[in-house]
Symmetry: C2
Subunit: 83 residues, 2 copies
């Protein structure tokens, strides 16, 4: 088994109203030092190890996890774990 972590972020230039709301809420709570906030997704998966794991994770991101028009993604494949 492998732990795979996928980080999905909005591409630069894509408006992020949720991030803007967070930034404004933090500012109004007194955290005036927060200049920008952007929100992304963080997906942790447990995947059975197999050949071409990296290629398959990339496909999963392109097909389902991320929207490649507006989002970028990165992923990390962790060490094999015993389950």
């Amino acid at each position: 088994m492998r732990k795979v972590t996928v980080y999905i972020t909005l591409k630069q230039g894509v408006l992020d109203p949720q991030g803007k709301a967070i930034q404004e809420s933090l500012n109004s709570l007194g955290y005036k030092e927060v200049e920008e906030a952007r929100v992304g997704k963080y997906i942790e998966m447990t995947i059975e190890d197999g050949p071409k794991l990296e290629d398959r994770v990339k496909e999963m991101c392109d097909k389902l996890l991320a929207n490649p028009v507006i989002e970028d993604y990165q992923f990390e494949i962790g060490e094999a774990a015993h389950s």
Copy 2:
């Protein structure tokens, strides 16, 4: 300016229907090796450097960014960047 990255995940034992939906969708797309998926949030902030930055980020997480009842968080404070 500092880049601060916050990772928010559901606590172990908290049901994650969104993660379950992702796992089932991946399985039905042919990625049968995916045994579990859990979804969290990933927040990137640009924050003006100042004293007690770490304590302040922790407060932001406790007060606004995460729900400490059901979520765990971790954060990383990046190197000072010139803007």
